[in-house]
């Protein structure tokens, strides 16, 4: 199908872009990579009257180190650039590992790091990974700016805390704490489809080899990414034995996620997969934490 008509703006600065959003509010849709939005426009599932295209806002394309060993990424940075960046590979190895699993190279050449987050698809890899890594997002409007931690940013199905006049401009990823390990697994029906279940985990060990911190974030397990806090709490202070891992995985899968049923997977199957994947990723993450 072909998109409905829209008024089109292609600002070259963040200021200009914010001015448009202030002007049009809910009538405007932001166009970042377009790999999720344009199919919706082509299906006429979305028919915004105004499109604000950020692809010429060069100040939003960057990857920089921050002074604490972490990273700052401009929201419009192409996923393919993040994929090949050595700083990302060093400082956010889980991002480096996961990005190649997003769709295909030609999608990642246009898709953006921030766009995926603002779109908030519950199956999106970057959503879960940013939460697992305790990312923080900088939001700007004409009125000012605010920082929102990832686990407060996603509030529902394709819904974030972004106001209609706000833009996500930057993502801050903290340095990986020492003795940390991350892991990510997803089950897709075909290579690189949207997953029917997935989980991103980050664990940190203390000096005695016990779990100091843990985070498990599930994809395709609810309206948005699901942060399994009770499971994480169960692991804290424990030696990460296979039994402890299994118990945490079961806790998360049985009690904390709320997967739906659709044509690809029943809720039961998703729940089962969540448990299997949680077990596998936690095992791998702890191994990496020990090795690193």
């Amino acid at each position: 199908m072909k998109p409905s008509p829209f008024k089109y703006y292609a600002p070259t600065t963040v200021e200009e872009a914010l001015a448009r959003l202030a002007e049009y509010g809910y009538d405007a849709k932001v166009l970042a990579g377009g790999q999720s939005l344009i199919p919706m426009l082509n299906f006429r599932l979305a028919q915004p009257s105004v499109l604000v295209d950020l692809n010429n806002v060069s100040e939003l394309f960057y990857i920089r180190p921050d002074e604490n060993g972490g990273l700052l990424l401009g929201a419009m940075t192409r996923q393919s650039q993040v994929e090949h960046d050595t700083l990302v590979a060093e400082r956010a190895p889980l991002v480096h590992e996961v990005i190649p699993q997003i769709a295909y190279p030609s999608i990642r050449n246009r898709g953006t790091f921030g766009g995926s987050l603002a779109h908030a698809d519950p199956s999106a890899e970057l959503v879960a990974v940013n939460m697992a890594l305790n990312g923080r997002f900088r939001l700007r409007s004409q009125a000012g700016e605010r920082w929102v931690p990832a686990d407060e940013f996603f509030v529902g199905l394709f819904t974030t805390v972004l106001e209609p006049d706000e833009l996500l401009v930057e993502v801050a990823l903290p340095a990986m704490p020492p003795r940390s390990g991350g892991a990510f697994l997803q089950i897709t029906r075909r290579h690189h489809d949207f997953c029917i279940a997935g989980v991103a985990v980050l664990v940190t060990l203390d000096g005695k080899g016990q779990c100091e911190q843990a985070r498990l974030v599930f994809l395709s397990a609810g309206d948005g990414p699901v942060d399994a806090r009770q499971a994480a709490e169960m692991l804290r202070g424990q030696t990460p034995t296979p039994e402890a891992i299994r118990a945490a995985a079961e806790k998360a899968a049985d009690d904390e996620i709320d997967p739906g049923s659709d044509i690809h997977a029943s809720a039961e199957y998703r729940r089962h997969l969540a448990q299997v994947l949680a077990r596998r990723t936690l095992t791998q993450a702890f191994e990496r934490a020990r090795g690193g």
Binding site: M1, K2, P3, S4, P5, F6, K7, Y8, A10, G34, Q35, I38, P39, L41, N42, F43, S49, L51, D53, N55, S80, A103, Y104, P105, S106, I107, N109, R110, R190, H191, H192
Partner: protein
Amino acid sequence: MSDQFPVTVTVNGTQYERAVEPRLLLSDFLRHDLGLTGTHVGCEHGVCGACTVLFDGEPVRSCLMFAVQADGHEILTVEELGTMDNLHPLQEAFREAHAVQCGFCTPGFLMTLVPFLEENPNPTEEEIREALSGNLCRCTGYQHIVDAVKLAAEKMGA
């Protein structure tokens, strides 16, 4: 609401200046406004890959871009790869390996593979299949396409 936007875009080395409606898809612009019908449209939802072109040297799905976004950029389509009398080694390899049946998906595969082979001059079968997994073909079952890529790597490496 149908404002026209100016677009200056270089396609296959030729500069074009046009005025377009912002919602005009890049795939439609290339095919119908510029008459470059080698790029094909299979789905308009970014899944099949038949519409793949090179945008500033990188493969993109032209059905997921607007023509207006190409202003100031460079595009290469399949027509630039080779001519019927002078095929690109990748095209030669496709022919030798019988990687073409109906040919509808073929331009999309070619434009995906050209940059892939530049970065991976000696790919394994697994790497090739991974690289191809974003392009759908209903005719070939992919095997001869994989063979063609191996053959092309040999031809181009030599």
